[in-house]
């Protein structure tokens, strides 16, 4: 499946901002056997005095930009064409929970996709006893990781209500868990923290969802903005498996990956530091359209 994706993020400041620096992670990555970035570009307004594009530790595209001059609004746009393949579906290879610790310990690499980075606490995911307890009900020692992940995915979808008004981008895990409601970021965080509390490596996926569903299928939650889901390490053979707790499904052809991290803080679309005094408002619009190459050609 090939998609054309457009993303527009605007910021408006009550008091003009100066010396703004942003780290922007919105351009999808190429992942062998999963998706391919055919073309993609970012543009900024005002035009940054400085811009450096790098690839971060987890393999994500990052643009580091600086807008020094005073500005009362800024615009970040991304346009890309991405080819998505059905994820190589080998969940049956995932190991039982009882074997995971050993598989992790003998995985002798610290590369960005090694499981070691995705266990224990991370900046946005401290250990929360309530979440630990919640996770326990989905696990059995002999259950394969894939089964546990699917059960937890379904459990979160069942127990938590999708509500864009109750949480914010910086709502702590503990609070979102108590509210039993939130958005894709909250659900993903709860599932990641839950899996990690069982000793299963789990990470955060930032990405896009197809906006208009295929004929006869329902529109997925989270398609009107950037989306988030979870990846789970099922052992050396199964590797990483992706689940979307917001829509209770495995991530498939409708999920386009922008980047991977331990939690939101590693793949936040825009991290910004600037000098300003007042409030600011931000808006995001996303358009993900399948390209019918047959008709185009």
């Amino acid at each position: 499946m090939i998609y054309d994706i457009k993303l527009k993020i605007t910021y408006e400041y009550d008091v003009p901002a100066t010396g703004a620096r942003h780290a922007v992670r919105i351009l999808p990555v190429t992942i062998d056997g999963r998706q391919r970035l055919i073309a993609g570009a970012l543009s900024f307004d005002p035009v940054p005095e400085e811009r450096v594009d790098i690839v971060d530790f987890f393999g994500n595209h990052v643009s580091l930009v600086q807008m020094r001059a005073a500005h009362d609004k800024s615009l970040i746009q991304m346009q890309t064409r991405v080819q998505v393949e059905a994820p190589l579906s080998l969940p049956g290879l995932s190991r039982p929970l009882s074997r995971i610790a050993e598989e992790v310990a003998t995985f002798k690499s610290m590369a960005g996709d090694a499981p070691h980075h995705f266990l224990g606490a991370s900046p946005r995911l401290p250990i929360v006893p309530d979440v630990v307890e919640f996770a326990r009900e989905f696990a059995g020692r002999d259950m394969p990781v894939e089964e546990i992940a699917r059960a937890m995915c379904a459990g979160i979808h069942r127990d938590f209500k999708y509500d864009g008004k109750v949480t914010k981008v910086d709502t702590p895990l503990k609070e979102a868990f108590k509210l039993k409601a939130g958005v894709c970021q909250d659900f993903s965080h709860i599932m990641i923290a839950g899996l990690r509390s069982l000793g299963i490596p789990a990470g955060y996926v930032s990405g896009f969802l197809r906006t208009i569903p295929p004929p006869g299928k329902p529109r997925l939650e989270g398609a009107d903005a950037m989306h988030a889901w979870v990846r789970v390490w099922g052992g050396r053979d199964a590797g990483w498996l992706e689940y979307d707790p917001t829509n209770d499904m495995r991530a498939g052809l409708d999920h386009i990956v922008v980047g991977y991290g331990r939690d939101y803080s590693d793949v936040a679309p825009v991290v910004g530091v600037l000098r300003s005094y007042g409030e600011h408002a931000t808006q995001q619009s996303v358009d993900v359209v399948p390209v019918n190459l047959g008709q185009d050609a």
């Binding site: 400085e50 971060d56 310990a105 002798k108 610290m110 090694a114 803080s265 991290v271």
Partner: protein
Amino acid sequence: MADLLGKDAGGALTDPLLGYQPLPGVADEMVDPSGKVRPVWQKLLSYLGKQDENGLEDRFNRADRYLKDAGVFYRSYGGPGSVERDWPLSHVPVLISDEEWNRISDGLIQRVELLEAIAADIYGENTLVRDGVLPPALIGANAEFLRPLVGVKPAGGHYLHFCSFEIGRGPDGNWWVLSDRTQAPSGAGFALENRVATARAFSDLYADMHVHRLASFFGAFRETLLARRQSPVERVAVLTPGPANETYYEHAYIARYLGFMLLEGEDLAVVDGRVMVRTVSGLKPIGVLWRRLDASYADPLELNQNSYIGTPGMVQALRQGSVTMVNALGTGILETRALLAFLPRISAHLKNEPLNMPSIATWWCGQEAERAYVASNIDGMVIGPAYSRLPFFDDKGQSVLGATLREQAKETVIGWLKAEGARLAGQEAVTLSTTPVWHEGKLVPRPMSLRVFAARTLDGWTIMPGGFARISSGADALAIAMQAGGKSADVWVVSEGPVERPTLLPRENDFTRNMPGSLPSRAADNLYWLGRYIERAEGTIRILRAWHARYAELADAETPLLADLTAYLKALDIAIEPAVPDSLLANIESALFSASNIRDRFSPDGWLALVDLAKTARDFNERIKAGEDAARAMTVLLRKLAGFAGLVHENMYRFTGWRFLTIGRLLERGLHMTRLLGHMSGDDPPDGSWDLLLDIGDSVMTHRRRYNVATAGVTVTDLLALDALNPRSIMFQLDAIKSEVEALPNAYRDGQMSPLYREAVRLHSMMAVKTPEEMNAAIYNELEQEMETLSNVLSQTYLA
């Protein structure tokens, strides 16, 4: 004092040990296992034996007085807020022969080179994980593993430049490393201060014993940091988290001692991948940062996003290799407690050699066999967090000593090991050696550990010949007992023959000479406001003194003159009760706060004068009564203020910083007089107003001499507003402001006056042509506003 330990009534020594009794089964620094005094201690011991007790106390007081006068303190946290505490010095130094010291040095140099190799491996190829030498979990779950730094080669190629080690001597007489400090080791400045203080206490002995000096260690490191710059225009700076940090005093001290700038994250900006300091003359490049800030706070963009004390873009600057960071961001991971368990294997793997100086025995409980060992030997173990970067005796009670647990608690700990082994490490509960401490009139043994410092110089690593000893407050020699309070002592490395005597006199080089224009904007801001607060306090005190002097005569606060002045003060938010009002206290505290942000630019005398002023004001605030008592108290405060001003005036180098302080004072004094004159120039001031004003303006005598007439509005206005020779007049301030502003950087740009200079000149001209007769409330009002504008333009131009 005939009976000082071990002397008989005739004063003859009966006991060469002066009654000192080492603890049984514990190694002692002064007394060897056979009970004999070690040769290196003999001189000190016989010297102590010759002193009477009063003489010794005098010597110790001399050391304490030095530390107090130098303003040495550390900040201690606990309870609400934080307190500055005097530095606790144990006066008797710890003596070590240079032969033994060389062995320690060799062991530590080997160790620091190993640590460098480990840093390079963790942030590079990761062969230690690949080859199974280091468990990946120790890196992956480690908060000090800073992923954005992976693959970033440090400028100049080195990760480590300055490290410290906590070492202790075990019962068998050998030294062990208790912990490694690689993040931002503190204490080197305190070691220097301990040395100065202890050398004062024992000045004759110090000169007589061949003690290795510390200055050449700092000198070599200073030269090295200067040499690490990529261009001579770059500056070297100490990067501090700020005055709230517990060792801020030391940051300021080291910066001042070495002649480096003391900067906070906010002082820095990254432009095109280069680190720059914001100064009053624009952005200036920084070549080397000696970091005293934990790495994760260094960049809110790529590291801890909640950091308010970092510099956005710092990581990118490091990626571009434009600045040398001492030590590299991410090297804090080397302090991880559980890493100690793997050092012998890592040394064999990376260096193919055994460690010359062992670490304290450590087991990471993430491994089955190690966990079982720790559990079954729990009585001889200290168990604590595996990822802790603090030594077990310093981790605020996070570690437990197995031997002190009851059976049930032991079971709990063993269960804890099973459930969360990977997060725990066991360490041998070692007994440390003791060293003599002067306690209640005699020498007693107290357990100690040493902090030793290593610096990378142009000729390789070097170890400071000395350091500081941490001495436990109790007699319990188990290392974990170190956490309860304690003192520090100087460490003398003693040679048999004479030693080199270098000093750290300023050297001929472009950096120390190149100070012009390098004043950081934040420091300038603090100096400017220090000047304003000090002068505001003075103005307030002068008015209050005049008020109370008259109240003492009239005994009625409702007379028109006093009521009018009370109303004037009220409009400025100054109450007349208590006699030393809270707003005046707040004002002095603000001055103190501004000064605390720039401790490195001050003489300790200036600082102490200010601290004393604040203390006195607080004391007066609580007890002084209105009238005569208060007038006298105000005079005391004025004298103390003058003392501070005098110290600044006498001792502060006449450069940009001084100008900002001065402009602050001039402007505030101008405002003070303008407001007063404006008030008096209203309709019908109460009787005695002009005399009162002369009194406040300290110009009674001058007025009498200059004008052969009774006090009148015109003569007072002439003297206090327009007379350019009267240091209290408005005109005098404007005159001086004009010349100070003219001397600031960029007063002229491309041959044109800067907006600030233009403003200063305009104000000056406006007043220069005035006659006393035409002065009125409206003009004073306009003048007051113009002065505030001048202040704003100054802030925008230099202080933003």
